[in-house]
């Protein structure tokens, strides 16, 4: 169309918003899933034994662990079923590969509704380049969305 200088910004508005830069629009100030995700979700390295990870997860009062790389990129998930696997297996061998993840700038109330409709108990929140932000439970999403419904 005759524009000599065109740039593509592939990480897009999810990256911009996740970096705390200025946004505009009707939902720009509404709570996001990044605000509500719990950052204390247990994590483990791919080479960690399932038995060790399980112990740590239970001591922390959780029922799952996120398998992350050294850089914090989400590789997989150990849910109750995977945590009950052979304790000598590595997290990488037992994990559920490539869990679905969502970006932190997604509006919280929309996500709470989506999780309820789809029966999802929790979702993983990551940056656009896949680094773990936290885990959002449906319980937290619904509770916090109800508190902040003035935005809707």
């Amino acid at each position: 169309m005759g524009f000599p200088q065109v740039y593509d910004y592939p990480p897009g508005k999810a990256d911009w918003s996740a970096s705390g830069l200025s946004m505009e629009g009707t939902l720009a100030d509404a709570p996001t899933i990044g605000d509500a995700a719990r950052q204390d979700v247990p994590t483990c390295a791919p080479a960690e034994k399932v038995g060790t990870a399980r112990e740590r997860v239970r001591e922390a009062g959780w029922d799952r662990s996120v398998v992350v790389s050294k850089e914090g990129v989400v590789l997989g998930l150990l849910r109750e079923k995977e945590l009950a696997a052979d304790p000598e297996a590595t997290a990488e061998e037992a994990m559920r590969n490539g869990p679905t993840t969502f970006r932190p700038d997604e509006p919280l109330e929309k996500m709470a509704k989506r999780m309820r409709e789809r029966g999802a108990s929790a979702i993983l929140v990551t940056t656009p380049d896949g680094k773990l932000v936290g885990l959002l439970s449906r319980e937290d999403a619904e509770r916090l969305a109800a508190k902040t419904s003035k935005f809707w």
Binding site: M1, G2, F3, P4, Q5, V6, Y7, D8, Y9, P10, P11, G12, K13, A14, D15, W16, S17, S19, L21, S22, M23, E24, G25, T26, L27, A28, R103, D105, P107, P128, D129
Partner: protein
């Protein structure tokens, strides 16, 4: 072919007068967009809808994220 810009380059380009265009559907733009961006949905992008852009200044296009 467009060049890829990283976040810090987008900031620099905007400081030097670049124009920022969100190509997502209008409804998504209205909900949330990068401050200062204008909306030209990809499906509606043509000579007429881009007529308001300055051809001498850089144009940065973006959508939601990589996915």
């Amino acid at each position: 072919m467009p060049k890829q810009a990283f976040r810090y380059e987008v900031s620099e380009l905007l400081d030097s007068g670049a124009q920022l265009v969100e190509v997502l559907p209008r409804e998504e733009y209205e909900e949330e967009h990068i401050a200062g961006a204008i909306s030209i949905p990809l499906k509606a992008m043509d000579r007429k809808t881009t007529a308001g852009l300055d051809r001498e200044a850089p144009v940065i296009v973006y959508c939601q994220d990589y996915l």
